[in-house]
Amino acid sequence: MAKQTIGIGTVANDGNGDPLRTAFTKANENFTEVYADGFTSYARLANEFKTSAALTTNVDFATAQVFTKTLSGATTLTFSNTSIGMVKDLVITGDFALTLPAGTTVAGVYDGTVSNLIQIVVTGATEYWYSISKAI
């Protein structure tokens, strides 16, 4: 259901607003839907949390959750729109050197012969933790 907005007229007492019952019915139906989804649902999430995007060289944290790229040469990635606590996933293939912004810790080993999942956790203003897992 699309959000139902209560009509309030243009100015006070102009007679163009919703009747009181209609207004609270809309409010109830809005809340019923919100509560039915446990206040939120996956579908309600913004694209930055639920979409996958092809990656060039900049990982824009505000645009997608998963970024994919097949390397065709040594590649340096940059990050933008990061905030502490953000977690993003890179699915990278290609047997070339890959440079990420300096990370505090890296777990796992990149394998150029298979797909690699690099998960990024933003832990500070320019602090990142990386963990790498690979397809078997």
Partner: protein, 152 residues
């Protein structure tokens, strides 16, 4: 082996690390470059030589081979070498000591080939001992290879 200059110090690795951090970022899946160069280790005799500090020569990191400082005197080295020789000979003789002891205890005659082997061992021990004593340098003593024996 690979080496890289980090903060004025050359660090060496068996192979390029799977993850490398520098001022440019975190590097994954490096095959070459990024400051890494081959490390060439010259052959040297560990008994009397050692490697200098690693250094850059051309486009590789390598070492000079320098003589090891030997604190023992020539006489001490000879004594040690002869001691090693006696230990080796002794362990060979031990293998057939029981035959000689049996002869002494019971009168059962030891096989001639055993007696000959033990005599040969002693002869070689004396010969090698004399060779060691005749050596004139520490390096000669340290690089003198004692033979291996495989008698009874």
């Amino acid at each position: 082996m690979k080496g890289i200059l980090v903060n004025g110090e050359i660090k060496t690795f068996g192979k390029i690390p799977s993850v490398w951090n520098d001022e440019n970022g975190t590097h994954l899946n490096i095959k070459e470059g990024f400051g890494f160069k081959d490390v060439v280790t010259p052959t040297y005799d560990l008994r009397v030589e050692e490697l200098s500090a690693i250094k850059l020569v051309g486009d590789v990191y390598t070492y000079d081979v320098v003589d090891r400082v030997i604190v023992q005197t020539l006489a001490e080295l000879k004594t040690q070498k002869i001691s090693n020789l006696k230990s080796i000979i002794g362990s060979q003789l031990e293998k057939t000591d029981w035959v000689v002891i049996r002869q002494m205890d019971s009168g059962e005659v030891a096989p001639q080939e055993v007696i000959d082997s033990r005599a040969e061992l002693r002869t070689q021990s004396n010969t090698i001992g004399l060779e060691i004593k005749a050596l004139t340098t520490k390096k000669a003593v340290l690089t003198y290879d004692l033979p291996t024996f495989n008698f009874y």
